[in-house]
């Protein structure tokens, strides 16, 4: 990255971090925030505009802006699947969100575990589900902290070391989150979501995808790498379908996304937010897909997929002042995207640890004010531990992301089936989740992360759902069979 771009981006990101801390403190003055619902769900009073932008900023992480163009560069036009799987998340939300929002309001749910306890009334089931959720989102948070380091190091051309990026950005997140809770997170998400939209508009202007330009681009790619343009093989199509299922079901049960359903002011607000959200993959992952395709022609075929975005920004920033400004905006948007996901995941993790773990064991029956203070303290402990892990280079970013989605998929039936299918029994839900996890873990241990190009987590989800259905219906059929036989006998 050029020195002038690194300087401009550094100044913009520095200013942006100051804005975030100011917003965090400004939201603090709105209320004392002593209760769990107040601190973790902003008093269940998020309005339409804030809810939409916080859902948006949380759903699209730094991976969207850095990883997705790289994937399009690597596999070609088939990466159009990224538009579909982000849309699948919204479609799955709509299966259970309307009813869950009503129940959350009536029964004052704070964590995903509150729904599971209310629905299934099984401490064992809630405990196992919480362990899976904590495992998955700790993984996700770790990936975001690592992304903070990679983003600052990569986009500053090495001027800001990896560890400085991890520590500095994490510190900013933990400060505004501790002082303002969900209000601070939601309002900073508004700033971050707006930055993301402005950055994407900038990218769209830089790409200028007219049909004539696209045709020229597609022909050039076809000449250089015909497999990236031709109709995909069945292997790719199966993997595409598997990815739609995996991301659709796991993305919809992110704990921080579930908590935004709880935090909506009312059903009408949530309804408006979802009806806009469903279009956003077209203008978000769709733009990143086009940027990655453009990189196939602009960059060497042997280029590093993870460096696609920094390389393109460097190339574009030297062409005009307008493109330079747009590139600085995009870099700030990348930092914003990473931070907005990290703050939401951290807040969610803190709430689960405080309410579902400490609040049901060591501090059972403790007042909410005390649990809220414990939750804030736990945020700092969790962050300290994860920062130490993030500073050691023994884990890879993308490996963490995949594992997280496949674990979350095993919890999805508790929400999707649990909300929509009244007959689903507790034993069936528990049996299904254990069978799904065992299948996934078994396939991983057997060295089969994919079976016939289908993710092991999706195979596990299939076993999970089949077990839920079978274990719910079979006992009823068995009980009904002798009665039926007796009736026939008479």
């Amino acid at each position: 990255m050029s020195a002038s771009l690194a300087l401009g981006a550094g100044a913009a990101v520095g200013f942006y971090l100051l804005v975030l801390i100011s917003v965090g403190y400004a939201t603090r003055r709105r209320g004392a925030q002593t209760g769990l619902g107040d601190f973790y769900l902003a008093g269940r009073n998020l309005g339409g505009f804030v809810l939409l932008l916080t859902l948006y900023a949380t759903q699209y992480s730094g991976n969207t802006l850095l990883g997705y163009p790289g994937e399009a560069f690597r596999i070609g036009y088939a990466w159009v699947m990224s538009v579909g799987f982000m849309m699948a998340i919204i479609v799955v939300y709509l299966i259970f969100a309307p009813r869950l929002q009503r129940l959350a309001r009536r029964h004052a749910f704070v964590t995903p575990g509150d729904w599971i306890t209310h629905r299934f009334r099984s401490p064992s089931l809630t405990l196992i589900a919480n362990v899976l959720l904590i495992l998955a989102i700790s993984n996700y948070l770790l990936a975001q902290l690592m992304a903070m380091g990679h983003v600052t190091e990569g986009l500053s051309g090495g001027a800001v070391p990896y560890w400085v990026g991890v520590v500095l950005l994490t510190l900013v997140v933990i400060v505004y989150e501790t002082v303002g809770g969900m209000r601070a997170v939601a309002w900073t998400d508004c700033v971050q979501g707006s930055m993301l939209l402005v950055g994407l508009a900038g990218l769209l202007l830089a790409v200028v995808p007219t049909p004539a330009h696209l045709a020229e681009l597609t022909l050039a790619v076809a000449a250089e790498a015909p497999e990236k343009v031709a109709v995909p093989s069945w292997d790719v199509s199966r993997n595409w379908l598997s990815t739609l299922l995996l991301i659709g079901f796991s993305g919809a049960v992110y704990p921080h996304a579930i908590q935004r359903i709880y935090a909506a002011r009312d059903a009408a607000t949530l309804k408006r937010a979802f009806s806009v959200m469903v279009f956003l993959p077209l203008v978000t992952t769709g733009v990143m897909f086009m940027v990655g395709i453009l990189a196939i022609r602009e960059l060497s075929a042997a280029g590093d997929a993870d460096q696609v975005m920094p390389a393109l920004l460097t190339a574009w920033s030297g062409r005009s002042v307008l493109l330079y400004v747009l590139c600085v905006t995009v870099i700030t948007a990348v930092v914003a995207a990473v931070m907005s996901t990290a703050d939401s995941v951290l807040l969610s993790l803190s709430s689960i640890l405080a309410k579902d773990v400490v609040g049901t064991t060591l501090l059972k029956g403790a007042p909410e004010e005390r649990l809220t203070r414990i939750g804030k303290l736990l945020s700092w402990v969790v962050v300290a531990v994860l920062v130490v892990i993030a500073l050691s280079p023994r884990v890879t970013l993308w490996g963490l992301t995949e594992i997280k989605m496949e674990i979350l998929a095993q919890v999805a039936p508790l929400f999707v089936l649990g909300v929509t299918w009244r007959r689903l029994s507790t034993s069936a839900a528990l049996g299904g989740m254990l069978a799904g996890c065992a299948t996934y873990a078994g396939l991983l241990l057997a060295g089969r992360p994919q079976v016939w190009n289908v993710h092991a987590g999706v195979v596990g989800l299939g076993v999970n759902v089949a077990a839920c259905v079978a274990l719910t219906l079979l006992p009823a059929w068995i009980a009904a069979a002798p009665a039926g036989a007796r009736a026939t006998g008479r």
């Binding site: 538009v83 009536r106 209310h118 109709v231 199509s237 199966r238 059903a267 309804k271 993959p281």
Partner: protein, 66 residues
């Protein structure tokens, strides 16, 4: 479900050369149209069929079967 199935080009001969529609391979345009249709259909369903109950007046609930 049908629109998601249409978005994946499993029904086209694998490896066949792409025709250009609006400058993009034809199967990419089909996918993007399917996703646009999903977005429009979902927004329609949300607007038309998601009934917003009066505040705290909803009797609907979901209880577990132990």
């Amino acid at each position: 479900m049908l629109l998601f199935a249409v978005s994946v080009p499993w029904y086209l001969p694998p490896g066949s050369p792409a025709r250009l529609w609006l400058g993009l391979p034809h199967w990419v345009v089909i996918s993007l149209l399917a996703y646009l249709a999903i977005a429009v259909f979902t927004a329609f369903v949300v607007t038309r069929y998601w009934r917003v109950p009066p505040a705290d007046g909803d009797a609907d609930d979901t209880e577990g079967t132990p």
